[in-house]
């Protein structure tokens, strides 16, 4: 139900706003999916990843390679991309599940930093710095009959929307399932959870695999905006996603949406601000990063459960 209203709301929002905003809303939805993968991984199972952008890259590259080399339809390529990132997630998860916070953080950070080198190292397949072009195939005729002619940005947006709704549906149900409870249990009290018969290692790996799959999906959708290459999935993307997740509230699904909105619109807002007040080039170049960093630090010091988490608390207290 939530997912359906989500779908409808964002479709109408896209209609109200123009094509430029649809391009941006598309990115919001993709980041929403990517941050949901962090909600599962970090918020629920308590593992940290600074390499979520690298897992997105896996999805993007698999999708681009299958489409360019085997000319499969977009949907099938996305399915293969998700499978590919699930597999990479399994390999990473096998090592990650044994590692505690800082080691995992460092290892995933190195992974995301290594993407450009990997793209150059395997240039024949991954096409180095330039990357691989990737576009959605033409919208199907039944859709154009329903919605009228669809331009590039709108088609991307309309294409992403159902995926976001499906992932939302999936994550809501997942967090309410046995697995969601198990993750919370091993995150809060690992020893007690193990004594209650939860296989801690396997549960952690499971979270990592699912999270990778979702990130891979986000990465494939991200790639469909035109190109899949190292510059599309920089380390800054991984860190921006984590920043969005933490500021929004990493334990909360609504926090993922808040975070995604912040990551996309905050830089715009700041750019508008620096143009308005004619700040110098240096300052306006680095102002978005600066404000993001300050917000992140203030969040972890003052309100570590994030915007959504903070609201949650106030509500809980007012009920008393």
């Amino acid at each position: 139900m939530i997912s359906l209203s989500f779908l409808l709301f964002f479709y109408l929002l896209g209609q109200v706003l123009g094509p430029y905003n649809q391009g941006q809303l598309n990115v919001v939805l993709i980041y929403f999916i990517a941050i949901l993968s962090l909600v599962i991984l970090t918020g629920y199972s308590g593992q940290i990843s600074l390499g979520q952008g690298a897992l997105m890259a896996v999805g993007g590259y698999v999708c681009a390679i299958t489409i360019t080399n085997f000319l499969v339809p977009s949907l099938l390529a996305i399915a293969i991309a998700v499978l590919g990132s699930l597999l990479v997630g399994l390999i990473l998860g096998l090592s990650a599940a044994r590692l505690s916070g800082p080691y995992l953080a460092g290892a995933t950070l190195v992974l995301s930093l290594a993407i450009p080198s990997l793209a150059i190292r395997f240039e024949s397949v991954l096409k180095g710095d330039v990357g691989i072009q990737l576009y959605l195939s033409e919208p199907p005729s039944w859709l154009t009959r329903v919605l009228g002619t669809i331009d590039f940005d709108e088609w991307n947006y309309v294409f992403t929307l159902p995926f976001a709704a499906i992932v939302l549906f999936f994550v809501i149900n997942l967090t309410r399932s046995k697995y969601g409870r198990n993750w919370s249990a091993i995150r809060d009290r690992p020893i007690a959870a193990a004594l209650s018969g939860i296989n801690v290692e396997r549960t952690r790996i499971y979270a990592f695999v699912l999270s990778s799959g979702i990130a891979g999906l986000a990465g494939a959708l991200y790639g469909f905006r035109g190109v899949v290459g190292p510059s599309v999935y920089p380390t800054a993307l991984s860190l921006a996603l984590l920043t969005g997740a933490v500021i929004g509230g990493v334990r909360h699904i609504s926090g993922a949406l808040i975070g995604a909105g912040l990551v996309v619109f905050l830089p715009d807002l700041i750019n508008w601000f620096s143009n308005r007040f004619q700040l110098s080039q240096n300052v306006s170049d680095y102002l978005p990063a600066f404000i993001g960093a300050v917000l992140l630090i203030l969040t972890v010091i003052l309100n570590p459960s994030g915007i959504a988490g903070g609201a949650h608390h106030h509500r809980a207290e007012s009920h008393k």
Binding site: T42, G43, G46, I48, L50, S95, A97, R98, L99, S100, G101, P102, Y103, A105, G106, A107, L109, V110, L111, L113, A114, P116, S117, L118, I120, R121, S184, R187, D188, P190, V200, R204, L239, L242, T243, V246, V250, R251, Q281, N282, V283, D285, Y286, L287, A289, F290, G292, A293, V294, L296, I297, V300, I301, P304, S305, G309, H312, H313
Partner: protein
């Protein structure tokens, strides 16, 4: 001299720098249980300040010393302003919701600090790359007709770091403060009961780590240029060195630094500099999978 021997010697100078970076990481990790991703951001910032001093006519030595002192102060400031409030909140919070987030909060905080340093440096210094001077020549030493691949600066680096290492070892072995630090790292509660001011010891760890990082920054930049992001790679290599050495062990950190320095150097000389990152990734994952306690570490501390 044989090329291979020269490469090894060069590895020692680079490895010593990575070792010092790893040493700083391990120091904070043992004292506060935090992996400080901002460490080389601090170093980048102080190196920029030193560079400005030199441009304005200050001598190299004074600028370098100011950078190192500022590095220590910066470490103390971060610990007091950011890490202490976080620790205080995590120890008093009761709800599982917040408690869970505290597993990741220190890491996220250090990443935020790294971004803060980089963006502020970008605003002030425009993100331009600039060189950083060395006190002695960074060109290969001339012996007869041959140019050796290592320079007077490499010898200088090894000399400085050897002296620093000896001082640190003496500090830990011979002074009461060093003993207090070791005690606090081993068992904070017992140390506290025996009159060690654990909080103060923690701060000292951040000070030493910050100062060492700044020293590493001053020693790396003459051959690597200075920009807001230059030292990220050094941090990653330093982290890998710390992991190789077993993140609990200070001598292990130095050893890990020399090992990874040799590896990076041999790969960039004999194979291809482009492969360095991929090989670090491979080494890191191999160590984490095969010998997660590192070559020196004995505890299975990093296993969840």
């Amino acid at each position: 001299m044989d090329t291979f021997l020269s490469v090894l010697f060069l590895s020692l100078s680079k490895g010593a720098i990575y070792g010092v970076v790893a040493f700083g990481l391990v120091m904070v990790w043992r004292g506060s249980g935090i992996l400080n991703f901002a460490q080389m951001g601090q170093a980048m910032f102080t190196t920029y300040i030193a560079s400005n001093l030199i441009i304005n006519g200050q001598s190299y030595w004074i600028a370098a010393i100011i950078a190192i002192v500022l590095g220590g102060l910066l470490g103390a400031t971060i610990q007091q302003l950011v890490m202490r409030p976080i620790e205080a909140m995590s120890s008093k919070s009761k709800t599982s919701d917040i408690e869970a987030i505290f597993a990741i909060v220190p890491i996220v905080a250090t990443l935020g600090l790294l971004a803060l340093f980089q963006s502020v440096a970008g605003m002030i210094w425009a993100g331009e790359e600039r060189g950083f001077p060395a006190p002695v020549s960074t060109f290969g030493i001339l012996v007869g007709e041959d140019i050796l691949p290592f320079s007077a600066f490499d010898i200088f680096t090894i000399g400085v770091l050897a002296v620093v290492l000896v001082i640190t070892v003496l500090f830990f072995r011979m002074t009461n403060m060093g003993l207090a630090m070791r005690a606090a790292a081993l068992s904070p509660e017992v140390a506290r009961l025996n009159g060690v001011r654990v909080d103060r010891v923690k701060t000292l760890g951040w000070v030493i780590s910050g100062a060492l990082a700044s020293l590493a920054g001053v020693l790396v930049t003459p051959t690597a240029n200075l920009s807001p992001n230059t030292l990220d790679l050094v941090l990653i290599i330093g982290f890998t060195a710390a992991v190789i050495g077993g993140i609990e062990s200070l001598p292990g950190a130095i050893l890990g630094g020399v090992i990874i320095g040799t590896l990076v150097n041999v790969i960039s000389v004999y194979i291809d500099p482009e492969n360095v990152f991929v090989s670090i990734l491979i080494v890191l994952f191999l160590v984490l999978l095969v010998r997660p306690q590192g070559i020196v570490g004995t505890k299975a501390g990093r296993l969840a």
